[in-house]
């Protein structure tokens, strides 16, 4: 059995906690280890927060589509938004070795998303951004079949 969870969210930060609960439940029943669920949720939190904070010019309501797919041992999540074109895979990593004084505030979100997942792929698709994040769930993590 393969399983897909599709959520349609409004561009509001309050959606993120509910996304996390849904993903937790979807993944747990599929046998995904807790540590992998935590990482996927953190990566998606960062990606969704950025879309909500930076992708739109105006105040209006936008729909963000999130599709989480669990097939055998691969967990992947696709995030589609109709905001300004933005490829986060091109954002340079922060220098995590700086001292307290030199360390700039911010700039960790995209880095977290990349570090939590095995692969992050960006495509501009018409007037939409499509970001796909994927991660192996490890041996035997998925349901048989």
């Amino acid at each position: 059995m393969s399983a897909v969870l599709e959520l349609r969210l409004a561009n509001r930060l309050s959606e993120i906690r509910r996304v996390a609960e849904r993903i937790e439940s979807f993944c747990a029943i599929g046998g995904v280890p807790e540590s992998v669920i935590f990482k996927l949720n953190l990566a998606l939190d960062e990606v969704l927060t950025n879309i909500i904070d930076y992708a739109y010019d105006e105040e209006g309501e936008h729909e963000i589509i999130l599709r989480v797919v669990l097939v055998r041992e691969i967990l992947s999540a696709e995030v589609v938004d109709d905001g300004r074109p933005y490829d986060p895979t091109l954002t340079p990593d922060p220098d995590t070795g700086l001292s307290l004084d030199d360390r700039p505030i911010g700039g960790l979100g995209i880095y977290f998303a990349k570090r939590m997942m095995d692969r992050v792929v960006y495509v501009r698709d018409g007037n939409r951004n499509r970001l796909t994040l994927s991660k192996s769930t490890g041996k035997g993590a998925d349901e048989a079949g």
């Binding site: 930060l13 906690r17 996390a20 939190d45 911010g106 977290f112």
Partner: protein, 112 residues
């Protein structure tokens, strides 16, 4: 998220962050924490033993707090990080920047 502030004795303030500190709740966390750091020579312990989840929005607040505590000639220490939260600190390089303790007692000693 819930933030609870309690006196830790000898002028120390203990800030306990519970639940999730994400982009939606970071603002409330920021107000509470920066408020506690506003006086000069602040001594702050951030107790994370009930903190289940923190995103970069939460780390942003902690970094601001650490910088401000230093500017105000104070001290800030963290304690009780759960494993997943600890991982987030490791990935961001914050483990080397913050004073991190396993127990509240040890964190209180560090800021006193």
């Amino acid at each position: 998220m819930e933030v609870v502030e309690t006196p830790g004795g000898g002028g120390v303030v203990i800030i306990e962050a519970r639940g999730r500190v994400d982009s939606n709740s970071a603002k409330a966390f920021e107000e509470k924490l920066l408020g506690a750091i506003a006086p000069s020579e602040p001594r702050i312990v951030v107790d994370c033993s009930q903190l289940d989840y923190v995103s970069s929005a939460g780390l942003r607040v902690l970094l601001m707090a650490a910088k401000r505590a230093k500017t105000n000639r104070g001290k800030l220490a963290l304690c009780g990080l759960k494993p997943h939260v600890r991982d987030v600190f490791d990935v961001s390089g914050f483990t080397g920047i913050f004073s991190i303790h396993s127990t509240r007692e040890s964190a209180l000693t560090a800021v006193s």
